[in-house]
Amino acid sequence: MKKHIILLTFLSFCFGKVRVVTSTTDLADIVKTIGGDQVTVTSIARGNQDPHYVEVLPSYMFKVRKADLYFMVGMELDLWAQQIIDGSRNRKIKVIDCSVDINKMEVPTGQVDASMGDIHKFGNPHYWLDPENGKLIAQLIADKLANAAPKSSDLFQQNLDAFNMQIDRAILDWDKRFRKLQGKKLIYYHNSWPYFSDRFGLVAVEFLEPKPGITPSPSKLNQIIQLIETDTIQVVASESYFSERAPKFIASKTGVKTIKLAQSVGALNGADSYINLFETNLKILSEAFGIEYD
């Protein structure tokens, strides 16, 4: 009898959970928060990896093979996900595009082509960098988890409510502690930050990339140097996965402060959860601008 109980417990532990794979660590962290111990979750891209370019490894297909749900960023950021899903030969998996409910920024008008660089025709896909959008993602995740495991839907709803409350409190806290960041001008390496900047009142003056996805050229760097000198820009911020070469060159010519920001959970020390992603970035920015925070 005891053996049967142990076996049943083991089986329910192994097979009762919803198996989830996500494209990025941010989505994985939200799934973990909402799903609790009723889900197992794996992210394909690492936190410190450029989510635009992920090499499609057979082992990723193997991870997706037994999954029940796949959450993707969408908006053409993780185009590689479809190859992984197809290659997994998983007939039952449900693929969810987390961008469906997002109010999208920078949606291009007119014809989009390669002369514009690596531009996304459905808008800027870095929407998870606004914590308000994190709530929309979490709502979608809770709905899909509840469909996959109706018996645990109450738990998912409780966790969703707690997550939303945590985000709301954090936004109030950040607005208070980091209010002096509002209106601060900075230059980003890549245009990953419109949602983040919009939320926290930062002003993106320029980008090191001449066009999205295009490596900074010498003429662009000269233009940036002149801009920093005339417009008294204090900070150049880049994603954790970019080379430090171009920012350091600019810093050597202008004395501008160069920083790395966490574009995803796990990209930098401290950014170990979705909430801490923002906390870490806001602290790094405040220190770079010489602003005191509580």
Binding site: R46, L57, P58, F62, R89, N90, R91, A114
Partner: protein, 357 residues
Amino acid sequence: MLQKLIGGLLCSGILFAQTTANPQFSVIGDLVIDQLTESPQLSSSGVEIAIQGNVNPFARADVYLHKHNDESPLELEEAVLTIERGLPFGLALRAGKLRPELGKMNKTHAHLFPFIEAPSGMTKTLGQEFYSATGIEANWLLPLPWYSNLSIGFLDTGIGSHAHEEEDDHEEEDGHDHNNGEEHLEEEKQENAFSSRWSHFFDLNEVNHIEIGTSYYADHEKSFGGADFKFKWRPNKYRSFTIQGEWIQFELGDEHEGKKVHSNEILTSGYLMINYQFSKAWNVGVIGDYWQFDLADTHGKDPSIFVGFSPVEESVVLRIKLGQVLHPEDDHNNEEKQLKVSVQLIWSLGPHKPHRY
């Protein structure tokens, strides 16, 4: 029978796939400058047109057309329906004109190589454009605790059949008997072939990966066995290190590539490549390849160094090759050493897929 089966599969894919969504088109072209150190020769390996898209939620179709030069017709390189997610037991099917899974390189299109030319050992074995034929290929993702894929193909023509056709074309141009060529092609239709590959992929850790595979091929008179491996270290988008190698032992029949060979001749071929990407745009590597006909006692090797530069992803790629070419051809006592410098500029228009490992 095989062609009817494949035709049926292709038709069923298309019939159930009425959609207004357009497939993706892309074009890849190149310019090659050979013998840069002597009298430069300009050429192109042609233009490849790819038409790709899903035909329904479970299947996709990939069509590759290739035009080699101004005179050559637009040739069908591949036209394959792939069903990856609709079948049970981890099965996938490919049907149509396809490059079967044979070793690591056969399925790779030339513009995806980090070097300019395919290793001569591989072209000696698989043909100048590598091996493609009309057939059906089943891929089974085995229920093992790691990625393990068994691929089995049944095809209508064997390796070297295209060489026959080219040979026949040359004969026709030279004014030789046309009927002879038709009879030859008639014979080739009977030459069904079997291909297989069993591959395994392991994550050593987050940034180190290794793939190993074994292949087997047989038609009515030839067969080969082979082994391949690839190790890759890729810590970020700026750096990677790859070692890739392949070895094939080919038991030939009476002829190979349209030429008579010793009865039961064995062709052994292989290559080893090391490629180091040291920045986002630059890579440098070395490749050594080797082939040998045992009974004829001839062999060849083409060691070379290659450099690649891709400033904007893979939309434009510049490759340079420095190689010492040893061409003994039929007379192995008369080895002629030659330094060859080649430059290739590749451009691509349209969406190109993220690369599989």
